[in-house]
Amino acid sequence: MKLDPDQIREKLGIGADKVYGVIGEFDDPHELVHAGRKIREMGYTKLDAMTPFPVHGIDDAIGIPYSKLGWIVIPVSLAGTATAALLIWYVGAIQDKFVIGGKPLFDFTFSIPVMFELTILFTAFATFMGMWALNGLPRLYHPSLNYKNSHRASDDRFLLVIEADDPNFDAQKSAEHLRSVGAGDVEVVEG
């Protein structure tokens, strides 16, 4: 099969003809939050921000829902507890029936430490992997990287994005809106 670079780009949604959104930058986290709130009041729903540290208040300002991570983690944690209990019961009471130190073959009390540790271990893996999965990471490319100052979003700039998926999106007008709330270096970003 011959690989056509244009087809690959098309499939991945990368292409010069596609618009990712408009991005503008701010110097200060508080300006970003204010601007974000104003932009949202204009009726936009698909917004994002890129910041060097978690800016508190931006989630509410641009309408980002609370993380669902806890719902992923809880069942996995309980599975960890159950795994440990089953393991200890199977090993002690089914597989190797040795009476050691006059202790019962299986009991809740001596299972507590390992049940606790496996709960923690499972929780940690669920949190770690769940967080990356919810974030859609790892990934090698993202259209927002085409913005000329995207590298400063991890340094000292606070970017506000109106995504092209937004029903109210219009490259010209949205850029104008971003400028009107005080964003600098507003650009229509292709992706």
Binding site: I64, L69, G70, V91, F110, P113, T123, A153, S154
Partner: protein, 473 residues
């Protein structure tokens, strides 16, 4: 979030100065990133000299372990009646050192202690390296480290046996391996935004690739941060009971036995307090050196160091209380073996070890009641080192003095460490310092994104105020 900025009363600037000082967010990024980014070949000579010294000591560790495996466990001084000696002492010592890292990253996070942000990265790295050093001792005490998988419940064909879950030793296997894994995940999670910063600043192709892959495509999106903060909170929430459980389980190795001097219910809290005490002292030693060599005085201020010294004072006093309690219970129990063990501990053949531990762990940290002393760099450097020596002695005293006098006087003995014992322990110190030096050179030692959060908040709070110049830099 309120739109009204709350600013500090200017009259209070002396009592409540800003925690970190940096001109702006960009200069903060510059300051921390340039440590990592500099040309490897242009690293100062003193770094290479230090690294070659610690590296040679690490080679000594490898040589000792090779010698042990090739010859047998008898090259260590462990013998009847002291079957557990320096190996377990060193294991407990290193695990304890690690506890400060988790305390700073997890417990202080839950208590919203902003000062943790300047020190958490290096403390977490220290945790990982300390647990690696700790793991060496039980692993090689098995005599056949290549059979270490027998410790884990994995089906195997070479022994038709399973683990005994009634034994605290298997609990320890689970506790320590969970502790290492969770600490690693926590540390890496915190590192990703900073790796993204380094990726965005990287000039050379290789660095762009390496940091690009390690940062997993992090772009600081508000959605990312929301999930990230949820994950951070969960990891902190589980690490808090985890860190308390790990040293509790380590203490169960002793407390569930019937040896006088070990068989006490005070062990879990006593061990945890001691672990945090020694760990903070170790963080202090490393930070004081790093702060001075890398010019981090504006980020790791006297305030940070003073707070750490306060924790050292509190945990040192808890340890002192536990010592007193042990003696009281030994007398109050009316058990002659228990009474003898404690009398023997303080006035028997190991009196020098016991008194060195009481002095270093209980009496010397009391100097920190005085603000002048707990804000003096030389005082805290010396105390951080004496504390760690004292805490090593504590583990040695608990382990050796309880075993040295068996129930039958014919089985009494005295422990003599061999040169292999000493060189192995020295070797783990070398390994620990080598790993830390490599970390400090190639990864951001201070959590850039977290300190930025604090800096940005303080810029608003201290609007238009000039912080008083700090004396005693």
């Amino acid at each position: 979030m309120s739109d009204v900025a709350i600013t500090q009363n200017p009259a209070l600037i002396e009592v409540n100065p800003p925690l970190v000082r940096a001109a702006d967010l960009h200069s903060l990024t510059e300051q921390i990133s340039t440590i990592v980014e500099g040309d490897v070949l242009k690293t100062p000579m003193k770094y290479w000299i230090t690294l070659s010294i610690t590296g040679s000591v690490t080679v000594l560790l490898l040589a000792m372990l090779t010698y042990l495996v090739a010859t047998g466990i008898g090259v260590w001084g462990n013998n009847r009646p002291i079957g557990w000696a320096w190996d377990i002492t060193n294991f407990v010592f290193w695990i304890g050192i690690g506890h400060a890292g988790t305390l700073i990253s997890a417990i202080l996070f839950l208590f919203r202690q902003k000062w943790r942000t300047s020190i958490n990265r290096s403390a977490e790295a220290m945790t990982l390296f300390a647990v690696m050093c700790a793991g060496i001792f039980p692993l090689f005490h098995t005599g056949r480290p290549w059979r270490a998988y027998w410790l884990f419940p994995v089906p195997n064909t070479d022994i038709t046996m399973w683990q005994n879950f009634r034994s605290p030793l298997i609990w320890d296997v689970f506790a320590v391996s969970t502790y290492f894994t969770v600490s690693l995940l926590f540390w890496y999670t915190g590192l990703v935004p900073d790796l993204a910063t380094l990726r965005d600043r990287a000039i050379s192709k290789i660095k762009q690739w390496v940091f690009g892959i390690l940062s997993l495509g992090w772009r600081g999106s508000a959605r990312h941060w929301r999930n990230y903060e949820a994950a951070y909170l969960i990891l902190a929430g589980i690490s808090t009971p985890l860190v308390l459980s790990v040293h509790s389980v380590v203490s169960f190795d002793f407390a569930t036995s019937v040896i006088p001097g070990w068989h006490t219910t005070i062990f879990p809290p006593y061990f945890v307090a001691g672990a945090i005490f020694s760990g903070f002292a170790c963080v202090m030693t490393l930070l004081l050196v790093a702060r001075w060599t890398l010019n981090l005085q504006n980020l790791i201020t006297i305030k940070h160091l003073e707070n750490m010294n306060k924790i050292i004072l509190v945990t040192g006093s808890i340890v002192g209380y536990a010592y007193a309690c042990e003696f009281f219970i030994a007398w109050f129990s009316g058990n002659i073996y228990e009474r003898f063990t404690f009398w023997n501990r303080a006035f028997g053949p190991y009196w020098w070890a016991a008194w060195s531990m009481y002095t270093r762990n209980v009496f010397i940290p009391q100097l920190y009641w005085f603000k002048k002393l707990r804000t003096n760099l030389w005082v805290m450097f010396v105390i951080s080192i004496t504390t760690n020596i004292g805490m090593w002695f504590e583990r040695f005293v608990i382990i050796a003095t309880s075993l040295t006098r068996d129930f039958l006087p014919t089985s009494w003995g005295f422990f003599h460490p061999t040169w292999v014992d000493m060189c192995t322990f020295a070797g783990t110190i070398g390994l620990f310092l080598t790993l830390f030096l490599i970390f400090a050179r190639f990864l951001p030692m201070i959590a850039i994104s977290e300190v930025k959060g604090v800096l940005s908040h303080e810029k608003r709070f201290f609007k238009g105020q000039k912080a008083p110049v700090e004396v005693n830099q």
